[in-house]
Symmetry: C2
Subunit: 246 residues, 2 copies
Amino acid sequence: MNLYPQQLRLQCRNGEFNGHTSGYCNGYAQANLIVLPKALASDFEDLCFRNPVPCPLLTKVINKKDVADKRIIKTSDFDLTTDLPKYTVYRDGELVETKTDITEEWDDEDHVGFLIGCSFSFENELATNGYKPKHQKEDSNVLMYLTTKYLNAAGVFVKCPYVVSMRPFKTEDIDQVRNISRPFKKTHGEPIDWGYDAVARLGIKDLQNPEFGAPIEIADDEIPVFWACGVTPQAAVQAMVKMQKV
Amino acid sequence: MNLYPQQLRLQCRNGEFNGHTSGYCNGYAQANLIVLPKALASDFEDLCFRNPVPCPLLTKVINKKDVADKRIIKTSDFDLTTDLPKYTVYRDGELVETKTDITEEWDDEDHVGFLIGCSFSFENELATNGYKPKHQKEDSNVLMYLTTKYLNAAGVFVKCPYVVSMRPFKTEDIDQVRNISRPFKKTHGEPIDWGYDAVARLGIKDLQNPEFGAPIEIADDEIPVFWACGVTPQAAVQAMVKMQKV
């Protein structure tokens, strides 16, 4: 079912949709949302500017209905606090609640929203071209790892880990997989590295034990292929909160 | 002596200046030049887009007198092949010659120039604010290291090392040093990491044996501070040439 973005957003607002958006709205960019206090906004923007592959900032949302870049959301009938399927609420870096709107939590005076490009965008294109990622076939969540590759520091965001997602592909398909994902410049683009030697380069401890997502089998004729992951900005904010507590 | 950029460029063109530009033209951005065959231009631009901190692309130069972004060089009286103090000519990734103009080498049909932001820009600002980098005081070249932090792959540019420069500063000065260099967004900006624990994070083998530049003493009350280095794009091109030869 290929909905227009505004159709799906209205379904979210009306409580008719609160699921996973993978596979929806083909041909449109998908986004992750992060909401932060205004005091952190400038440093966070700088973090994105300095690390555009794992933190591809699509646009800021200055008050809940005001998207800075109108090319990203082309309607004035938009509300950041209701138009996404589900929200996770963190306090002091800890998950406290999952809800279908954040009208109560949002504070126009103190909050800024950031829409970050999401890999669902290029996954659809891979699938369409006959390179459906294995986790999609198995209907599981993509594997994600913390790496020892750190982000370029920016303001309060220091020592933040670069998170990668992994999708196994056949060695002979790597060129095509790279070519298909490359044009998705604002949603992580092409893989950052691949092959078993990339595991050491990225400092991944155990390929069979991802930090997020379910393990997946890598066949003998396949190799692991690593993309920058949209979980990175969230991990950065959590690392920052943790560091401020110390 | 604080020359205007065009004054210094004309001195280069007329053979009156062929030295090091550190400390010249305060308040203006300094640039490194890379010239590549057109076939590599798109992948190289993508490499810069995906790694803006070590590879901050200021502008392309499409033919030797045509700067793509006129804000970067604000005169039509510009010639890429004569207006820089010195050029190093590489063939198949190996340095073959150093000369003061490349009018013979340049091919308008096949070459594209890339101007890359250079750290001389923020070094001046540090010095002006009382944080003169130690290598400037000792009149030596800044220390540079190859790291095990790799660039985000882009087209033919895979497994390219992230090169960092190092300047020692006192621990209590780090915040100020970060604040002063941060606004230089197109010339590497703030440090990417610092402290002795950063040496391991960056995979630097031996702090006393930099890959480029002369070693420098780090006093007991100082720590090493690492910035992204403008040698990175050149190292990337050399890594790519080496890989194509294999």
